[in-house]
Symmetry: D2
Subunit: 245 residues, 4 copies
């Protein structure tokens, strides 16, 4: 089976091109770049029509833009809040479920010791396997299993991106270390309400906060100094709880 | 000189108490907890008046709440965006300036290989030294120097939280690796405009995006399901550029 | 009983002073303005200490700032949305309940033919009477009655600012003209859900939209070009329905 | 020339149809409604295929949705803020420029005594003439003239929706009554800065505030209780100043 790769990126003014493989020529509307030129790791390459590109080795941020997308992919603003509101760091053990495309698990695995991600749907599990290839990392363990079978203990942070996280509170609390965080990511207020209501029956769990965030891009150049007209009105509500005993 | 410490946290319903030292009794309005009880790393402790608390070892997220504050401290939502929009990871070398209280440098050092932070003002440098003690980490290098003297090379990400970042573009570009990111964090649109205008004169730098974000907390409980009335209307604009050659 | 009045306003750089009566001298920290000087309707007046003020006749916008406040006062952004999303105009008959301080009823009475406002709590009814004096208008009818006793028919718009608007749907639908709007203003999502759920059992009512809005002030001057730090995170959700038969 | 009209609206579950004329049959994808049936002012009509619609006389809110659009049309949230932040009421004389499609002038004419609107571009002036026909109102005076030729005096509110409002400050201040408001509506922060800078050279004008607002629609039904994904990230900055002498 072919590996999912991104080997180079090409910049030209406001355009960016993603080159999956340096083993063959790369075609654009401005002509093609020869595979031998694609071997360069920086500098300038030219197409057969004379168009110049800056060539670069992609990094994880570039990989994020090229993730294979199945379900809705979580935004970077939400990944950032989840990571820093729970103090995830290089020593952290993180569990997430469901994996989906793996976007969250992959980004968190870049900054933590190990991420273990549960996904019951086979097609998403397979999708995440491909995306893990793209990132080329080793500390993300993908499991095609229901979170009910969680075997990890002493976990720092658990993140649930699934419609009914309240079905898994017992398992999560048992897996968390004292002081560890349980995070749920939910689109509807009714789900957040149900989730918090169920959690309050657990005496060893305390609700810390529920947050939402907005992200707005600006156009700043010679002629403009204003926000973009396009903006995402909603992604999800992040609810953070903590195991206290 | 006394070390700046946070050794335990105590939870009680919606209250949280921060215990700086387990070497002496801790007093609250509900009575005091004896120092011997504070040695516990989890479980329940009682005050002399019978009030129960859940006791825990603090983590980095707790440390963040107890940072000594001099200048305005950057918010976690902004730290999250800076980290993930630039793909910072366990192998990253990050430079920031000015250090200020060290909040950004400390949080980024938790997820990267090494952070080097420049600060010209002695009092902030000293403040950051104290805050580094609190975090107890070794991969944050604090320099009481002007960023003009930056000696690092092949840097993945540089973050500038200073009023005139355009004075340092040459130094930053030289320090960055090809494909690395230059991030500025600025409160005023006029500064963002000036910054981008100056950056466009550098042919090896490309403006990726300028963003702002909002963070809103919700009250969800038996009686309420609504956003909090308090909200921060503004923190700063994040401008991200990239070295392309 | 003394009338509630605002007879003049005084501007000085960034300060504004509200002069309740021109029948007596007005005192400020910069000295006092003599009552004879306060009779001026425009121009400049001086305090005994030589401080200059611009003097003006107040308008309705100024009155709004000086409303006696009992319950939470609805914001202008929300009044604006309610008015324009329902097409209120000089020929409109509007009903609102509960009156509260009368802020909404007063502002809508400025732009419509007549507003009839219901309030069961005597103390708020009395407060609204005082505020109507301040505005000095005649087309706002205040009723110290439960909306259950609504006698109006062929109403263009009904606005409910009360905790359980679903108790009054039958009365509202009967009072509205075909094509007229029923607006509810509610702080909690759970109330909005309950309200819409109840409304859907009425075959002659259709849910048009539910909206929330944000308002952010900016600081623009020689030194600043940024949003204010203070911002209201939440006021209320506006739900608009329409009688269709 | 044919008049621009909207004579009936038809509701069906979540769909709304706009019937321009009752002088001919109205066709939909569900069949057509006979012109004789369209004469009804309320109740139910059926298509030849048996589909039922609720029929209604349109109001100004419906007209707003059917405005002929040339330039960007100002949003209702912004119209609402402009109207209520300046206390516009049934006795107000309002001037606006440039007219554009006339959306702002039309909505303000519904709630004020008279609106006079200036537009230099002939094609927009003609567009506004058509839109005024749709509204069928008499208190909006459209002028195909540069605002430099403003003849009105003692004006309550002037609203400028044009790229260089600073070219007209002298004319506006002269036209305003003492205590009257000058409002500018601008997309870029740089324009707002320039505008305020120019205004500060006028000693009889004081900057009151600069605001922006956001509008977010929610999906609330049996299955959902969340904001819509689509949201407008930016419309314009509203700057309000006041003539003080």
């Amino acid at each position: 089976m072919k590996k999912y790769k991104l080997e180079r990126i090409l910049y030209s003014e406001n355009r960016i091109f993603y080159v999956p493989s340096i083993e063959k020529d790369f075609h654009t509307q401005y002509g093609f770049v020869k595979k031998n030129d694609l071997k360069k790791k920086s500098g300038i390459v030219k197409t057969n029509l004379g168009k110049k590109f800056f060539i670069m080795i992609p990094n994880y941020r570039d990989f994020f833009d090229k993730l294979l997308r199945g379900p809705q992919i979580i935004t970077l603003k939400d990944i950032g809040l989840i990571a820093f509101e729970t103090g995830i760091n290089k020593e952290s053990i993180v569990v997430d479920a469901g994996t989906g495309s793996g976007a969250l698990a992959l980004m968190l695995s870049l900054i933590s010791k190990r991420v273990i991600s549960y996904e019951i749907r086979k097609e998403f599990y397979n999708l995440a396997l491909k995306n893990r290839e793209l990132f080329g990392i080793k500390n993300l363990i993908l499991k095609n299993k229901d979170l009910k079978h969680i075997s990890e203990r002493n976990v720092d942070v658990i993140v649930l991106d699934m419609p009914q996280p309240w079905d898994y509170i017992t398992e999560c609390v048992n897996a968390l270390k004292v002081g560890g965080y349980l995070v749920t990511y939910l689109p509807n207020v009714s789900q957040v309400m149900k989730n918090i209501e169920e959690q309050t029956t657990f005496k060893n769990l305390i609700h810390i906060k529920t947050i939402e965030s907005f992200y707005r891009e600006w156009l700043i150049n010679e002629k403009q100094s204003r926000p973009k007209t396009e903006m995402l009105g909603h992604t999800g509500f992040i609810t953070i709880s903590r195991r206290i005993i």
